[in-house]
Amino acid sequence: MSVTIPRVTDSHAARLLRAYQEQEKRFVERRFPLQFAPEVPALRELYSQAKGFRWNPETDIPWDRFDPTAYDKSAREAARRTWSRRAWSVYPGLIESTALLIRFCLESGSLGMDAKLFLSFRPAEEAKHLEVCRLFADVFGGYEPDPGDAGLVRASNHPFAQAALDPEMPVEAWIAALGALDDQLDLNLTLSHLQHAKDEVVRTALRLIAGDRQRHVTFAWTLLGSRVPTLDAHTRAAVVDTVRDMLEHVILGGYRNTWLVPDKSREPWLAAEQETARLGLGASTASQERGVLRATIAQVRERLAVWKLELPVVTHAELGRI
């Protein structure tokens, strides 16, 4: 077997690596004493659950009961596009959660083992979700590897992993933005897709993904619950700013919702999602997603308010004040 390897001389990849290299050098890792005993039992419990609830996309989803030919060509094309687009939004999870694991190791040194063990599992869980998306796209006619539109590329590609390794970014702020807001929205959307899915195989897949996602979200809120009460005013402000920034510039820019992508970049993806939702093949309509988004923002705002962290109202051209 011979496989061509991309060269490191690829100047963009080299620039990216240098950026990470610079960030990594700004931390001084203190590895010892290396504590393993649980510090936050709820986080260790989530790690235990991750070990106990493991599943395999190839064998735990009854693919043999799925018959794509039961759907006409246009329906299959719509579902193929929807699951491809979903794969692009799952993929960053591999990178972000790995970067976050490294950040915890660099920063917390000898402490924080509960979070590190939990995060050591998360990239593999994201990879399983990614495999599910690719398998569905394939059975509907073939995974589409490229959005083919600059607007959609911009909306779905953010340097989250670098942000996770940025020493200027308090790790609590990043967990709040990525875990408490973005993961929470992702979970709520997955639950909405599940609620509206009619196909038994699609429902099984979404249920398995939602189970993992629920743990990821619980991790974020639990970790915040263990740390926010001890944060100083500067870091508390950073938490609020980072969540607001994520909401205003990433979520409302269409990172999770195609109907929020700039007008000219929405099609054919939005129509595909509408059709996929109508057929119950694992999507929600724009109207349903709008409700999920509003409810999620309210939910996040309320939960942050418990710690007296006030997420400001942001304004969006279509949605108004939200």
Binding site: A14, I95, S110
Partner: protein, 303 residues
């Protein structure tokens, strides 16, 4: 935040289909062979009360040291996954490495549990290194360094360093007479065999495109790994050419633990396994044009 001067990835097109069937098969196998240190080890058969204080102390030290080593695979090796993603390597590498990170976390937890259940986990060496000198093989720094070739990292860390680790495990697992210890060693071994297969399969697949520079990089990386990591006692303190900061009790812990059937290995095991390991990787890398030099070691001789 998002408008700061981070360097954006060029992510698309984003291929996800398997392109390296052997590596993909490792990802598939890893998904079917998951285990849980809390529930898949027969802890009820450990019976620490059957061992002397000296044996228990040695085994506690051995398993604590293993925990620190496995932790390196959580703290450092995941940087390789980032590199695969940033360099847009084939999806097979990315998928498999997510499982590897998970498995290394499991090994760290399992080793810690073993030390704990034998009576005590030691959170640091008796003479801990200073901050910044963390007793590491340094793969994170290498992974983020675009001037360090990925092939060299694979050859030194994924192949050589992991290969000697499992060669010693394979050669000594039968000495672990304690059923809980033996089961744990078998489960770790099962995962590690996949990790090494991954390294060799990738290098074999890439070998036709190796340039003379690549070959030199591999030779230098493997030599550095042997001289600066193995011969400094990163894995086994007895191998350290210069005394280092380990205490005599720490150096002797592996032998005492091994002789008690609680895991570990003896200097005689190292004398037997290490030269054979070097012969094996020399032979394995020779078809790529890689020439691993001979090494002088005060106790192993010329190997």
């Amino acid at each position: 935040m998002m408008r700061q001067a981070y360097v954006s990835e060029q992510r698309y097109p984003l291929p996800l289909a398997p392109a390296m069937p052997d590596v993909w098969e490792l990802w598939r196998r890893a998904k079917t062979l998951e285990w849980d240190p809390q529930t898949d080890i027969p802890w009820e058969d450990l019976h620490p009360e059957r061992y002397s204080a000296e044996q228990l102390l040695a085994a506690q030290m051995y398993w604590s040291r293993r925990t620190w080593g496995e932790y390196g695979a959580i703290s450092e090796s995941p940087a390789l996954l980032l590199r695969f993603c940033l360099e847009r390597r084939l999806p097979d590498l990315q998928f498999f490495f997510t499982m590897r990170t998970m498995e290394e976390g499991r090994h760290a937890e399992a080793s810690w549990l073993m030390a704990e259940r034998l009576g005590r986990y030691f959170p640091q060496p008796q003479n801990p290194p200073t901050a910044g000198a963390v007793g590491t093989h340094g793969v994170r720094r290498m992974a983020f360094d675009p001037d360090t070739s990925l092939e060299g990292i694979f050859a030194s860390l994924v192949c050589a360093a992991e290969e000697i680790l499992i060669d010693v495990f394979k050669a000594t697992v039968h000495k672990a007479t304690n059923p809980a210890v033996r089961r744990l060693m078998e489960l770790i071994l099962r995962d590690e065999v996949r990790h090494i297969a991954f390294g060799w399969q990738c290098l074999d697949a890439w070998a036709p495109s190796f340039t003379p520079d690549t070959v030199r990089n591999i030779e230098a990386a493997v030599t550095t790994m042997i001289e600066n990591v193995e011969f400094r006692g990163y894995r086994n303190l007895w191998l350290a050419i210069e005394g280092g900061s380990a205490t005599p009790a720490e150096i002797d812990a592996d032998r005492i633990s091994c002789e008690a059937g609680l895991g570990g290995n003896t200097p005689e095991d190292e004398m037997m396994v290490f030269p054979e390991f070097l012969r094996k990787i020399r032979k394995r890398m020779a078809p790529w044009g890689v020439n691993i030099p001979m090494f002088d070691h005060p106790r192993l001789g010329k190997v």
